[in-house]
Every structure is written in C-alpha cells, then in structure tokens.
Amino acid sequence: MKKPIIEFKNVTKQFSLQSHKTFKEFLPALFMGEKTHESFTALKDISFSVKRGETLGIIGPNGSGKSTILKLIAGVMSPTSGKVTVRGKVSPLIELGAGFHPELTGRENIFLNGAILGLSQHQIKDKFKEIVDFGELWEFIDQPIKHYSSGMYMRLAFAVAVNVEPEILIVDEILAVGDTNFQEKCFKKMENFKQSGVTIIFVSHSLIQVQSFCNETIYINHNSLIAKGTTDTVCQLYQNDQLHK
C-alpha cells in the first residue's frame, strides 16, 4: 500500500502568548518569578492522514484551529509535539499574493511569486503565457501592481498559484473573491486538478462548496478532531452541532 501523502500523528500545537508586552511589565514579572508567557493550545492531539489524490475538506467554527492545520501542512509552523509528515510539493493558497511587492510590475511579480512557490526561472517562462491568460491580465502586465484593483490582484495571485503544478493544493476561503465568472473558472481549474490526481485540502465555511467538492471531510471544534469521514456524514454532524448550540 502507498504511504499517505499527508500524515498527522498526535499533533499538538501550542502558542506562547506574551502576557507582558512592555519592558515595564516584563521586568518586574521576571524578578517576581511570575510566568512571562502563557501558552494557548491551538490543536490538541490530532491524528489523520490524507491519501494521494484525495480531496479533503476541513470544516469547523472560527478559531477552531483550521488555519493552524494548514500552516502545519505548508511547513511554516512546526508542531509542539507529535509529527507532521508531508510527502510532496505544497502550493499554498492561504491568503493569496503573500510575496507580491506593490512597486513591481505584474510581470516581475509573477517571476518573484513563482520562485517563492518553488518554480525555476525556466519553468515560469514556459508558463508565463498560461498564467497571464488565466488571470486575463494582458493589458496591465507591465504596470506596477499597486495600481491593480483588488480583483485583479487576486486573479494574478490565483493564476500563479494554480500554475505551479502542485502535488498538494491548499485552498483557504479564497474563492470568495473575484466575480462569478472568475470564481467559476477557479472551480473548473480545481476540478481539473482533482481529476489529474492532485491532493487538495479545502477549507471553507460554505458547506455547499465542501459538499460539492470533497470526498472526505474532517470536522474540527474546540481544537480537537471531532469527526473524520465521508463529506455528507461529517457535514450532517456539523450542522446538527450548530443547531443544538
């Protein structure tokens, strides 16, 4: 049997919050032997795995730890205890356009962002036309992106991210942007990815989107894993929980 592409083994993530922000507060606390920081548990003993080619939805109320899971998968955070194993190239769509520089042109930003997502110069050159086509940005490609509208900005970011040919695509609530036309295009692209065997991690508050798109879903609440299973059953459970609050 093939090894799962993403594996969480008893993952716990704690953040330390500094409770004394200024020196005036910090110094006495240090001498009085008070704790200088408190810790906050964002994820508690979570285990699950994702098979290659699976489309996993993550649902749960705000602050339940969904974004932390995504950050652990993307590799920008390490777990406090437990183990996260990722066997593949990740393309994060968490808040698009993180690497954009407002003063640079669209063209320059495509190269910059491509490199951040792990493409070589050569690969970006090959894909350049496709990226600009997808974002419908030919007119503005040599303008600094500070003059872009927020929709154009998002289109550019999405166009770069989906052309990376990821093995794992992380999608976090981003399909709320852009006009309906572009949203449809994005869904079509993601549908293509799904067909071609890309593993997709999809976070959304819209149960309809999750239900139409994911085979498997995990439900997270109060920082622990409540349920994992087929999308329909898990969504049903989530809805019941919401109703009985």
């Binding site: 808040e95 190269f111 951040i116």
Partner: protein, 326 residues
C-alpha cells in the same frame, strides 16, 4: 520524501551526542592548565586538543554546509529576492539608483570637511594621502557593514506575510538583503576609483588582499545579521538597540581616524573588534600598498567564523517558532 521538520533538528542531535564529550575535555583542560603542552595538529597521535579542534570543525562545517546546500537548492528564489530588493528600492524616485552613489559621496564630503579642515585628524604620517581618500576607503566598507546589518535586522519582520505562508529557508531573506547591499557597494566603489586616480595614488599588487578581507567582513556581517534578524522578530527593541550599537561602533572603529593613534593600552580591544582589523587592513592594502598584519587578520577571521557559527545556531534554533511569534 519531503520533510520540513527534520532539517532543523539534526544539528542539535549531533551536538547532544558530543555535549558530554565537550564538557569532559573542558574539565580536563581547566583542571590541568596544560593546554599549551599539547601538540596542536598531530593526526598520527591525536591529542585531546586535536580531537577538540576537529570536533569544533566538524560541528561548524556540518551546520554551515547543510545551510549552504539548502540555500543552493533555493538559489532561484534567492536571485529573485535580490532583484526584488534592488528593483523596488528606488522606484518612484527621480534620481533612482544614483542615490546609491550620491549618499556615500555626500557623507564623505561633509565628513572630510569636518574632520580634516576643522578637526584636523592626521592621516598616515609617512605618505601624504589626502584625508578624503583616507576616509573614503574606510567609510565605504563601514557603510556596507552598517547598512547590511540594519536592513537584515528588519528583513524577517518586513517579510512577515511570507514567513507565515510559504516554506523556504529563512536565511534566504537575510542573505538577499545583504547581497543587495553588496551590489550598492560595488556601484559606490566607482567614485573611490575616480578619487584614487585623480590623486595619483599608486596601486600595487597588494590590492588583491581586498578580496579575502572582504570575505572575512561578509562572514562577520552575515553572522551578526542572523543574530539580529532572529532576535528582532521576538522583540522589536533590537532594531533600536542596533541603531545605537552601530553609532557607537563607528567611533570605536578606526574609520574617521587612523588606527596608529590609538593608545597602546587600548589596542587589544581593537584587535578583538573584527571591523577595526578589517577597516585597517583595507587602508593598509589599498592606500599603503602593503600587506595587512597577518596575525590580526587571522584573529578577525576566527572571530568572524565563530560569530557566523553562533549566529546560525541561534537562527536555526529560533526558526521553528518564527511563524508563531511574528
């Protein structure tokens, strides 16, 4: 197989394995006071000190080499980041990249007015080098050092949106700002060359010493930058502290005055300050046409390597929590 988290741990494991070993030798040496009796390098009959040095060497090389390979793997990103720094800097300014030359030139002109006409600081007595050139040879590398440090210090904080979203070796952020400053430096050297030609300063083969000296300076700068960048992420006080340190450091380094007017009893501090040694060495080789003081340069090299090693160790130990603390 692609595992993000294994990278950082290896060094510490390696270190743990040898920690007791290191401690044992430390006790051994301090109790006997016999360090100098041991032959340093006899590999056929390895002495404890040889073991110790070899161990330090392996520890250093293992961590540095690992970092170099991971940076090499992301070299395209590094290039893009450097070009981002360079391209975006003077956008929407009329003079554009000319600022890179204008800035040190103006500084040099005003400072040489203040220190040669008003204060009359002597240059090297043997040769009659005009103060402006004397100052400029030292001021340019100093500006590089100080600019590199202050921009590297803010490099991680400034890229917080990247750090919380995408994985890549974080050292790239620090290195790219330093490389961008080196490019600035290379541009500003052109004025120095013009000055040197205009004042008929003889150029000898010894000027090639500049290359290794420059390398030592960069090792030192990089080591310190790693330390400041990582700690600034935790406490923003560090960037203000750094501003203060750099101002004071300028006066404790023979930039505006020659090294030989430093009283003898303070010399030792100047020997231990790599920047003092480096700046002095630039002067000796570029203007004096001589070779630098080998033992000083060696000490500076050792201090720089140690700084790089400790800086990298600290940076790596903090790297895992960068995204949590930003």
């Amino acid at each position: 197989m692609y595992q993000h988290y294994s990278q950082n741990r290896d060094n510490s494991q390696y270190f743990d394995k040898y920690k007791s070993f290191l401690f044992f030798h430390f006790i051994l040496y301090t109790s006997k006071y016999h360090i100098f009796k041991y032959q340093l390098f006899s590999l056929s009959h390895p002495q404890p000190l040889t073991h110790f040095l070899l161990l330090c060497y392996t520890l250093f090389m293992s961590s540095v080499l690992k970092e170099i390979t991971s940076i090499f793997h992301y070299r395209e990103l590094l290039m893009q980041m450097v070009s981002r720094e360079v391209k975006a800097r003077y956008k929407q300014s009329i003079l554009g990249y000319f600022w890179v030359i204008l800035n040190p030139l103006a500084q040099m002109l005003v400072m040489s007015f203040a220190f040669s006409i008003i204060l009359r600081i002597p240059t090297n007595s043997s040769s009659n080098i005009p103060y402006s050139v004397f100052l400029f040879v030292a001021l340019l590398p100093w500006t590089l050092f100080s600019n590199s440090l202050s921009s590297a210090c803010n490099s991680l904080v400034g890229s917080s949106s990247l750090i919380t979203k995408v994985y890549f070796p974080r050292t790239i952020l620090v290195i790219s700002t330093i490389i961008a400053k080196i490019i600035d430096f290379l541009f500003s050297i052109s004025i120095l060359i013009i000055y040197m030609v205009a004042y008929h300063i003889p150029i000898t083969i010894n000027i090639l010493w500049v290359i290794p000296i420059f390398f030592i300076q960069q090792i030192f700068t990089f080591g310190l930058s790693l330390f400041f960048a990582a700690s600034n992420l935790l406490y923003r006080d560090i960037q203000y502290l750094l501003g203060l340190i750099l101002t004071l450091w300028l006066y404790l380094t023979p930039v505006i005055y020659p090294a030989d007017i430093v009283p003898d009893r303070y010399r030792i501090f100047f020997q231990l300050n790599p920047m003092a040694v480096i700046i002095n060495a630039y002067r000796q080789t570029v203007l004096g046409g001589g070779s630098p003081n080998y033992s000083s340069i060696f000490i500076a090299l050792m201090v720089s390597i140690l700084t790089l090693y400790l800086g990298l160790l600290y940076f790596k130990s903090r790297e895992k929590v960068f995204a949590d603390n930003i």
